[in-house]
Homo-oligomer: 339 residues x 2
DNA sequence: GAAATTATAATGATCGATTAACTTAACCAA
DNA sequence: TTGGTTAAGTTAATCGATCATTATAATTTC
C-alpha cells in the first residue's frame, strides 16, 4: 500500500549508473553525456521522481522556503499581505509557510523558533500586540537569517521594514472629513504605546492645524479594540451638548462602534455624523451604511516585504542595508462620509 | 555573524565521546551511564542545542508535522477549525502548517504535493469549491500518508471525515422560524452540486413537513455566494404579492443579503421578516440587527479531525477504518429572528 | 605508438541525526 | 582458568541528495 517515494538511487539502479551521475544528469550538468542525461530525465519523469526537499535542504543548507508570522490570520489585511508575499515567492520558486501568533508574544517566539529550526531561508514578520521584548527577533539576525518586518514594527530593531505612512493616511482621512464640512472631528484610538496609533494621531492633528482648526483634546478617546468599547466611547461623546459631527477611527472595528452609537441615538449618517475608518475590512463595504475607510494596499505591502527579503536571499548588492519602504494608503469614500 | 547552529557533533567533540553516545544520552537511553547522560544534557542545554528537524526527519522518516489545507484562510470558520487542530497537535508535540487553496483545485493540488514532498506525517483537508477530481487526494492515500477530510468532503472518497449534520442543523433553524410564527419561509441556497447545500435543503424540507407545512418550490432561490446576488434574489421574493415572512439562508453572507433587501423595502426585522443564517461569522454578531445563525462549533470540528488523524499516526487499533464523525451545530438566536 | 588531453562517469565524503551491531573491560560463577 | 554476563561505549551504515576528487575510457597530438 505505502508507495515509497522514488529516490535518486532507484533511478541509478534501474539505469545501472551511479547516484551522483543521476544527480548531475537531473541538473543538466554538461559533464554528463547528452544520452545519459536524456535517459535519466526520461526515467525520472516516468517514475514521477520528486526530489526529497529534506535531503536537499540538509545537504545544501537551503530549504527554498520562507516563513511568515502574522499577528492574526482572520484578518483581511494580513491575509492580503500573505497573498502579496506568495505572489513574489512564487516567482522565485519558494514555498511560503504562514503561522499566526494570535497576538501573543509566546506564540510568536514559538513560531519563530519553529521556522529557524526548520532552517527556513528567510522570515517575514509583523509583531504581535503583546510583544515587548525582542530577543527572539534578535536571534534571527544573529543566526544570519534574512528577515523583514512589516506593519507592526519597532524602531528598536535594526531591520528592513515595510510600513504604512500612517500619519499621511490619517491626514488624508481627516482632511476629507473637513472638506465634507465637519467642524468637530472626534478621534477614536487605542492604547498609547502602539506606534501606529501615535502616527495616526500625528496625522489627525496636522490635518486640523493645516486647516486652521483647533485641537480639542476632549474629542480624542482611547478605547480597547472592540466594537462595544468604541460604541460606548462614542455614545459618551455624542451625548455631550457640544457633540462631534464626525469620527475618524483608528480602525474599522472602532468606526463600526461609532456608527452603532450614532444609529442608536437616531443621528443621521453622514449628514449629522460622518465616519471614516481605517483598513478597508470586508465588513466596511457591506455594512449599512457602507463605510468610508483607508485602504492600506496590503497586497503591495506583502509584495514589497517579499522583495526586500529576496534581495537579501539573492545577495543583491546593498541588500543587507537596513531599508524602510513606505506603502501609501488610499482613501475610499463610501456612504458614511459622502456629502 | 552567522551563528552556525550547534550540532550533536559539537557536543561530542567537546566531551570527547562519540556522536552516537550523545544521541543516546539525549534520549535518556539507559545504555548510557547516568554520569554521561547528565553531562551531555547539561552541555546541550548550555549550548542551546536544538536538533535539526530536517536531519531527524530524513533519518526517521517522521517529521512530526501535519499539513492542513483549507479553502480559504480569511474565514472565521476555517480559522477556528485550525485552532482546534493546533490544540490537539500541541498535545502530541506536532507542528501544524496551514495553506489555503483559495477555492482553486490547482492550488489545492500544489499544496498537497508540497506537503507530501515535505514528508509531512499527516494531512487534514477540506476540499475547495472547484475540486472535481480526486487524483491528488488518492495520491495521499496511495502513499500511505494518514489523512482526514472535514467540512467539504466527498462521498466518492473512502477516507475518515468530520462533517456537520447539515440536515439536522437546517432542521433546527427552520423549526425555530416556524415556532416564531413564520408561515412562508424562503430558502436561499447555492449551486446544486454542493453537498452541504443538498443536505441543508433536506433539513429545510423535513422541518416544514414535520410541522405539516407545504413546500413551496418558488420560495427556494439559488444564488451565487455573494451578498449582492442574495440581496437581488431576496428583493425579487419580497416584492411578490405573496411574500415570504422569513428567510433561512445557507450561509451568513446570503442572510446578510436578505436583511439588506428587507431593509431596503422598509420591512421590519424580525417582525415582518425573520432571518436565520448559517456559520456564525463574526459579522453576524455585530451587524444591525444582530443576526441569528447556526454555530457549527468549528473548533470542535478541528479537534475531532485532529483526533482521527492522530489515531492513525499513533497506529491505534482500528484507526485505519474509515470513520465519520458528526459535529452538531447549535442555534444562536439573535435579534433577526427573536420574537 | 606513446603521451597528452578530453569526455564521461564512479567514488567517497558530507549534511545532522539515528540505530543495529560490535568492542572492551569489568565482574562473577564454577 | 575458562566462559558467560553486563555495563558503557564505539563503529559504521543509513536516510536522500550534493559535489569535490578520482578513475577510466576515448580521442587527439606529435
Amino acid at each position: 500500500m505505502a508507495n515509497r517515494p522514488v529516490t535518486i538511487k532507484d533511478i541509478a539502479e534501474k539505469l545501472n549508473i551511479s547516484v551522483s551521475t543521476v544527480s548531475r544528469a537531473l541538473k543538466n550538468n554538461p559533464e554528463i553525456s547528452l544520452q545519459t542525461r536524456e535517459a535519466v530525465q526520461k526515467l525520472a519523469k516516468e517514475l514521477k521522481y520528486q526530489p526529497n526537499p529534506l535531503a536537499v535542504a540538509l545537504k545544501t543548507q537551503k530549504s527554498n522556503t520562507i516563513g511568515v508570522v502574522v499577528p492574526q490570520i482572520v484578518s483581511s489585511f494580513y491575509a492580503s499581505v500573505v497573498k502579496g508575499i506568495e505572489q513574489v515567492a512564487d516567482e522565485f520558486g519558494y514555498q511560503v509557510f504562514v503561522s499566526s501568533s494570535n497576538e501573543k508574544m509566546e506564540k510568536e517566539e514559538k513560531n519563530v523558533n519553529g521556522f529557524l529550526n526548520m532552517r527556513m531561508d528567510g522570515i517575514i514578520l509583523s509583531l504581535s500586540r503583546a510583544t515587548n521584548t525582542y530577543d527572539h527577533i534578535q536571534k534571527i539576525k544573529d543566526m544570519g537569517v534574512p528577515m523583514v518586518l512589516f506593519d507592526r514594527t519597532s524602531k528598536e530593531l535594526e531591520v528592513s521594514k515595510v510600513v504604512a505612512d500612517d500619519a499621511a493616511a490619517a491626514h488624508s482621512a481627516v482632511s476629507h472629513l473637513i472638506d465634507g464640512g465637519a467642524k468637530r472631528i472626534a478621534f477614536l484610538t487605542g492604547p498609547e504605546y502602539m506606534l501606529f496609533g501615535r502616527n495616526r494621531m500625528r496625522g489627525y492633528k496636522k490635518a486640523l492645524k493645516d486647516k486652521d482648526m483647533t485641537i480639542d483634546e476632549t474629542l480624542i478617546s482611547r478605547c480597547d479594540f472592540t466594537v462595544e468599547d468604541a460604541k460606548n466611547a462614542s455614545l459618551e461623546l455624542l451625548k455631550r451638548s457640544n457633540r462631534p459631527d464626525a469620527f475618524f477611527a483608528i480602525n474599522d472595528e472602532l468606526a463600526i462602534g461609532a456608527i452603532a452609537a450614532a444609529k442608536e441615538l437616531g443621528l443621521k449618517i453622514p449628514e449629522e455624523v460622518a465616519v471614516v475608518g481605517f483598513s478597508n475590512s470586508r465588513r466596511s463595504r457591506y455594512m449599512e451604511p457602507s463605510m468610508s475607510t483607508m485602504d492600506q494596499n496590503p497586497k503591495q505591502v506583502g509584495r514589497e516585504a517579499a522583495k526586500l527579503l529576496f534581495d537579501q536571499l539573492e545577495d543583491k548588492p546593498g541588500a543587507k542595508d537596513v531599508k524602510e519602504v513606505v506603502v501609501h494608503a488610499d482613501l475610499l469614500v463610501r456612504t458614511s462620509s459622502e456629502k
